[in-house]
């Protein structure tokens, strides 16, 4: 990979950083007038600059339809960065950073706009030494991907000059089902090579998600227990107190299963269930992740009825405030059948996870927010302290957000003459132990893309395998003559009673968050 070659070639780098360094490049953001640019991308790039990690030669070009000048664009971004940067703004640094930002007005479908873009990028390469390296960020609706990529190819911007590279970052949703994902993959891969395609899932940029592999493979005590012999089941939860807010139309076409499970939660499941990779290169890690998705037991319609619960919130209260039902939300059909909650019982059919269910739930308008993975170990044998009444199992919880950390529940003797056993929690909080704030997920992911490290990005086969699995559930819900019911739950509750029953049938219960 160019990255490692470059690092080796710079003799002064030794001992200064153990990560691939970002290379000189121009980042071109399509959809630059959108929310993501203002709230996440530019603040992330600014924070990278503030940490001293941005390459000396880096330019940012915003590509969008609206009328703006370089200066007006920079001024808007300054205001947004003041608001959204995790470390505020330093006037001097911003002054230097803003000079690297440019605005390019064009319709996405206007070929002439791309020709001008190509000329502008060439001029920037000469002026700013960006070496013809380009990172195209598609921060647009998937329906725009094809048109943009086609025009990039038409003006040759997908073909790097000798010794340079071009890469593309694609924002989710990457398809809405398997055929659309395959079409998108085909469109993208027609223009960019798979190794130059970076499908972003911001969950993978989170510190705790990255820590799952460290926890499993840098500690000798967990991996011997990490299998069906010692683990009873795994629970993965992503809870949100928010409703759909202004995203009604999007959510109507998506629902919780497509919006969260297909990407974020299956990614977390892969990190928990994967085999140790042979090394830490992007493809070795992604090879192992994709094996997990392939091993997910496919569901027939009757399996969906038995193993999946879909729900939708009704009127209720969240944080002590009354909130309306999903069907009464802005731009949502009053007869909507879109799920705002889904709970699944999944099986990974391989040797390691034989007969270990993975319970996954995600929902809106739940009592509190948080994403976590809970590994429930098998109970101790029914002798000695477990003989008369079973003590609770050990549970290892990996909190992805908020209050990132890890806790382990163990059993301990309550002080006193009699033997009374109580669960106690050993708790590690990132925020308590490490005073330094974690970088935002987008900072890490942008740095990786600029460095040519695709480990934390989804590969096409991963995405397609995930859709293949999810489509079976969607089909059972929407294409089957007798679909399972859409259960209702009051806003502010922990979901429909049927989701509790899903675990109760197996003699288990959802973890109290």
């Amino acid at each position: 990979m160019t990255t490692h070659h470059d690092r080796a070639a710079n003799p002064l780098r030794e001992g200064l950083s153990n990560r691939p360094m970002p290379q000189p490049c121009t980042v071109v953001i399509f959809g630059a007038s959108g929310d993501l640019t203002y709230r996440k991308l530019i603040p992330a790039l600014y924070n990278i600059a503030s940490d001293g990690d941005l390459p000396a030669a880096l330019s940012v070009v915003g590509f969008a339809r609206r009328e703006k000048t370089d200066d007006s664009f920079r001024n808007e971004l300054e205001e947004a960065t003041r608001k959204f940067s995790r470390q505020g703004i330093n006037e001097e640094l911003w002054g230097s950073f803003r000079e690297r930002i440019f605005y390019h007005k064009s319709e996405f479908g206007d070929l002439e706009g791309y020709e001008r873009l190509a000329q502008r990028l060439n001029a920037l390469d000469s002026a700013r030494n960006t070496r013809g390296n380009r990172l195209f960020y598609l921060s647009v609706a998937p329906s725009e991907f094809g048109g943009i990529l086609e025009k990039l190819a038409a003006v040759g911007l997908n073909n790097p000059a000798e010794g340079s590279w071009t890469r593309v970052i694609v924002e989710k949703p990457f398809g809405t089902d398997l055929p659309s994902a395959q079409t998108l993959n085909s469109v993208v891969n027609h223009v960019f090579r798979e190794e130059d395609t970076y499908r972003i899932d911001h969950y993978l940029g989170k510190e705790t998600a990255q820590n799952i592999m460290v926890l499993r493979f840098a500690n000798a005590i967990f991996e011997p227990l990490w299998n069906h012999r010692y683990i009873d089941h795994v629970q993965i939860t992503a809870a949100e107190p928010l409703g759909v807010e202004a995203r009604g139309p999007y959510y109507e076409s998506s629902g919780a299963l497509r919006d969260m499970v297909q990407n974020h939660l299956l990614q977390l499941l892969c990190l928990v269930a994967m085999e140790p990779p042979t090394d830490l290169t992007a493809d070795s890690v992604r090879d192992e992740k994709v094996k997990v998705v392939r091993a997910l037991r496919p569901m027939k319609p009757e399996d969906v009825a038995h193993n999946v619960v879909r729900g939708q919130y009704t009127n209720g209260a969240v944080n002590g405030r009354e909130v309306t039902s999903y069907r009464a939300e802005d731009r949502v059909s009053p007869e909507s059948m879109t799920e705002t909650y889904v709970a699944l019982r999944l099986h990974v059919d391989n040797w390691r996870w034989a007969d270990v269910p993975f319970y996954v739930r995600v929902g809106k308008r739940l009592p509190k927010g948080g994403t976590e993975i809970a590994i429930h170990f098998k109970a101790a044998p029914g002798v000695l302290f477990n003989r008369d009444s079973a003590v609770g199992p050990n549970v290892l919880v990996i909190r992805i957000q908020p209050d990132e950390g890890i806790s382990l529940r163990i059993q301990a003797k309550r002080p006193g003459a009699s033997v009374k056993i109580e669960p106690v929690k050993m708790d590690f909080h990132y925020g308590t132990s490490f005073g330094k704030a974690s970088p935002e997920a987008y900072e890490r992911l942008l740095l990786d893309a600029m460095s040519g490290d695709a480990t934390l990005f989804a590969r096409s086969d991963e995405v397609e395998c995930a859709w293949r699995f999810i489509d079976l559930i969607e089909q059972a819900w929407h294409a089957h003559p007798s679909p399972p019911p859409l259960c209702q739950y009051p806003a502010g509750s922990w979901g429909p009673a049927e989701a509790d029953a899903l675990l109760e049938r197996d003699g288990r219960a959802w973890r109290r968050m």
Binding site: D6, R7, A9, N10, P11, L12, R13, E14, G15, L16, S17, M21, Q23, P24, S50, D51, G52, P55, A56, A57, N90, E92, L93, S96, R128, N129, R131, P402, D403, H429, G431, T432, S433, F434, G435, K436, A437
Partner: protein
């Protein structure tokens, strides 16, 4: 005589033999409202009452960013009384999430008179178990070095900038290391002081076009503030070691090296007013790199100039020269500091 010890900031005085019990009581009192956190044992050795006060202030700042058991060891060998006094205290601050107080304990000892030979024993007795021990030794090391004290130290932190006779001090360290405590990692804050400068210089050469400048380097000029000569020498050592230069002629502040292939490279050190290293220039047959510390802010202004006329600028963080940020940088960086040892091997004869 110096001033007397102000014990107020050190917390509750405790009997040395009761220290463990008193710490337990301290946390019982605090446990309702706060969380205790600790990742390392961070022992700080200092001399005299003023240094005790200054170190306590620094530890308060340090623990905001890095959870530890802080162990402050003060020594006043000239005191007429032979006694060891001890105190315990907690430094608490709101966690990043803002929901709860995170607290670190500080255990302080003051060794007066002829009690200095008991430091190792007292330190070992009061370590937080299983956590690594980082020892920051302020000022000069005593001769001979207390090998027993160093036996359990994982990282030995010192600042060679503060030494009047660095060669003698490095010789003491080598002597102690040769006695078998090879796991000890040497952490020189004088090296950490140049971290951002080294990063800034290195970053300019991540661009392969700029590497030609290194390949034909002929002169390096480093401007340093009074008192930062040793920092500049370590920088010379770093560049020479990483570029595989061999010393040819070692005149003070104007030394000549030979690059592989026989090309001469001259290093010139200049003393100027300013902050630590204020300017570093690399000149070659194909261009130049100028790295200038911004006096107003906390940045290095970088300028790379190619012979064919291209000029590129960059602004990079310059870090801080204050003790707490330097310590935090050092501890966050970790690692075995092999590059430092190579740089030191070249720089040491110049000290």
């Amino acid at each position: 005589m110096g001033s007397s010890l102000d014990t107020q900031a050190l917390g509750f005085p405790v009997e040395l033999s009761q220290l463990g019990r008193e710490i337990k009581k301290l946390w019982e009192r605090e446990s309702q409202t706060s969380t205790r956190a600790s990742l390392i044992n961070f022992a700080v050795f200092c001399r005299g009452p003023e240094a005790m006060q200054a170190s306590t202030d620094l530890l308060m700042e340090f623990t905001r960013h890095h959870a530890c058991r802080a162990i402050l060891i003060g020594a006043e060998p000239d005191s007429s009384q032979d006694q060891i006094r001890a105190w315990i205290n907690a430094h608490c601050h709101l966690s990043r999430a803002g929901a709860k107080q995170v607290c670190c304990e500080q255990v302080s000892f003051y060794f007066e008179g002829r009690t200095g030979n008991r430091i190792a024993n007292v330190l070992y007795a009061n370590l937080d178990s299983d956590l690594p021990l980082y020892l920051w030794w302020q000022g000069d090391f005593p001769a001979p070095i207390d090998v027993q004290l160093w036996a359990w130290v994982d990282r030995l932190i010192f600042d060679s900038q503060s030494w009047a006779q660095p060669r003698q001090q490095f010789s003491l360290i080598r002597e102690a290391l040769s006695s078998g405590h090879s796991r000890l990692v040497l952490c020189d804050l004088n090296w950490t002081r140049s971290l951002h400068l080294r990063q800034a210089i290195a970053q300019m050469f991540d661009c392969p076009e700029n590497l030609t400048l290194l390949a034909s380097l002929n002169t390096v000029t480093i401007s340093h503030a009074p008192g930062f000569h040793s920092t500049a020498l370590l920088l010379v050592g770093w560049l020479a070691a990483q570029l595989k230069l061999e010393l040819h002629d070692s005149r003070p502040d104007n030394s000549q090296f030979t690059a592989p292939g026989g090309r001469p490279v001259r290093f010139v050190l200049k003393q100027e007013s300013g902050r630590s290293i204020s300017r570093c220039e690399l000149h070659s047959d194909t261009g130049s790199l100028l790295c200038q510390r911004d006096t107003a802010g906390d940045f290095f202004r970088m300028e790379i100039r190619h012979q064919h006329g291209d000029v590129h600028h960059h602004l990079l963080p310059s870090g801080s020269n204050a003790a707490a940020p330097l310590l935090l940088e050092e501890i966050a960086g970790g690692g075995p500091h092999r590059v430092y040892l190579r740089a030191l091997a070249i720089a040491e004869p110049f000290f």
